[in-house]
């Protein structure tokens, strides 16, 4: 029992000592968080501040921000028609993508959760997980191949006379976004529906609700956290999409993502790029907070 014999003499308890031990525990908690805290402050919070600061800077000939010469030029440019077109296009595509993903994804998740035998369910889930874990670039590239002018889709379109060359058009970008982010909608939805207490639905049926009513009044509201999580996971990346419009779109389908990156490469206007990034971030934060308040929990 040597472990129990080595100990410092202990006195009876009193409130000051209790307060001390509470403080000691608090210190331990902070200590655990400290490495990540310092890292994120240095590589996240401060960079965020820099973006905000430099959005008010003026640019040098290489496009880099110049300290001093503070102005609101970058923000003034935000209301130019070009920007507004791009922003509107991005917003439209992101919203459309989120809605379509929801309309296709919800029945899909529901189908896997309720209509498949529980033995099959795991296999079906694996089949959804594989695209989810696959490299995003590769999956987007697959459509580049499919929509190529020598490819099967164009061939089919020309044969039926329904469509011509689809690449580098807005529909192509949309298909790419839908394809890219559908798994991001399905998985949180499936998790929420799977976890549902089905005895509640049974109870509704028992109280004379039709199938549709039971769905609308019980299943749907209870799966709301999944709907919110899935929507956020689709909307935010869609709004900031870069790879998809870059590969599948053309000059006429520039979205916010590419436009921002251009400012740091050929566009040579870092302060403007900073302003754009900041605005898009602010918009998303507001959307997220608003959406969370209306009934989401944690991601």
């Amino acid at each position: 029992m040597t472990l129990l014999e080595e100990h410092p003499p202990v006195e009876a308890a009193n409130p000051e000592l209790e307060a001390q031990s509470v403080k000691a525990a608090a210190r331990r908690g902070l200590l655990h968080a400290l490495p990540a805290y310092v890292y994120l402050v240095f590589f996240f919070a401060l960079p965020l501040v820099i973006v905000f600061v430099f959005s008010f800077a003026s640019r040098s000939t290489t496009g880099r921000p110049v300290l001093g010469g503070w102005n609101l030029d970058s923000y003034a440019r935000l209301v130019e028609p070009v920007i507004r077109t791009i922003a509107a296009r991005s917003l439209w595509l992101a919203l459309l993508n989120t809605v379509i993903c929801l309309l296709i994804g919800y029945p899909f998740a529901y189908w896997i959760a309720t209509r498949s035998k529980s033995s099959n369910r795991n296999l079906l889930l694996v089949l959804v997980l594989i695209p989810f874990w696959s490299n995003f670039l590769v999956r987007t590239y697959a459509w580049r191949v499919l929509l190529d002018s020598n490819g099967p889709v164009t061939g089919l379109g020309e044969a039926t006379g329904l469509w011509g060359q689809m690449l580098f058009t807005q529909p192509a970008v949309f298909i790419g976004l839908l394809y890219g982010y559908l798994p991001f909608m399905v998985l949180p939805l499936y998790a929420a529906i799977e976890r549902l207490d089905w005895s509640l639905v049974e109870g509704a049926r028992d109280l004379y609700a039709t199938g549709w009513e039971a769905f609308r009044k019980v299943t749907l509201p209870l799966s709301k956290p999944g709907v919110i999580a899935g929507s956020i996971l689709v909307f935010i990346p869609s709004l900031g999409a870069y790879v998809t419009p870059d590969i599948l779109g053309g000059a006429k389908t520039t979205l916010l993502g590419n436009y921002i990156v251009t400012q740091f490469t050929s566009g040579r206007n870092w302060p403007f790029g900073a302003a754009l990034s900041f605005v898009i971030l602010a918009a998303m934060l507001i959307a997220t907070i608003f959406y969370f308040r209306s009934g989401g929990k944690t991601l």
Binding site: A36, I112, N135, A214, G257
Partner: protein
Amino acid sequence: MTGREGTATGGWVDRVLGINGWFVFLFLYAPIMVLVLYSFSGDRNVGTWGGFSMEWYERMFANDALMRSLRNSLVVALISTVVSTVLGTAAAIALERYRRWATRGAFDALMYLPVIIPDVTMAVMLLMWFTTIGWSLSLNTIMLSHIAFNISFVAIVVRARLANMDPALDEAAADLYANRWRTFRRVTLPVIMPGVMGGALLALTLSLDDVVVTSLVQGPGATTLPVYVFGLIKRDVTPEINAVSTLMLAASMVLVMVSLVLQRRGESEQTR
């Protein structure tokens, strides 16, 4: 029939759900299957099948720049995964097991930001920051950037696992004479290990996947595989890319299997 199976009415709703389901699977897999198929095609054109050929795979392996970018990707992914897993796990413990310390709320919010921020903004932030503090862009800046967004993802996964863990387990360990370090090493860590591994896997995938952040913070000469392939795609679509893509898909499938094994093992041991 009771439970979830009781929602099946046998009517047209079931049929519509089924059709939608199979259609989605077709939609998800057709493009990648075409890709895989044509990586073995002898013809440059995607429209025509040129007979079975491994030509594109041979060319891919002979491409020095590509191989170098693959090596870079693995190095960056490995190091950033290890660092972000350690930091993220510690942060998760700080948030989940210690409820009252100064600025805990602010830290919680700070941890969530990298998850909801669009990666374009993140890329811009980091690029401007590195140039401001005068760090030259290189493989190191890529690594540092990946760690920056991965810490939060690891923390989320580990937190979920921690929240699910009976807090009495740590108390039992202390009751049985374990000090804090031994409690962590022999009880807490093994129990949350599926979460830690899951978080590490997620960090690995996000790092290997990343295009936007890497392309802005990389220096001349050192690039990662996805960014290299991205450059190839924008220049010209060659079937070599199909070959690379197929191998990357195969790697993803391995990752899926690993994540499933981890999940299965985590569930089997739980008594709650």
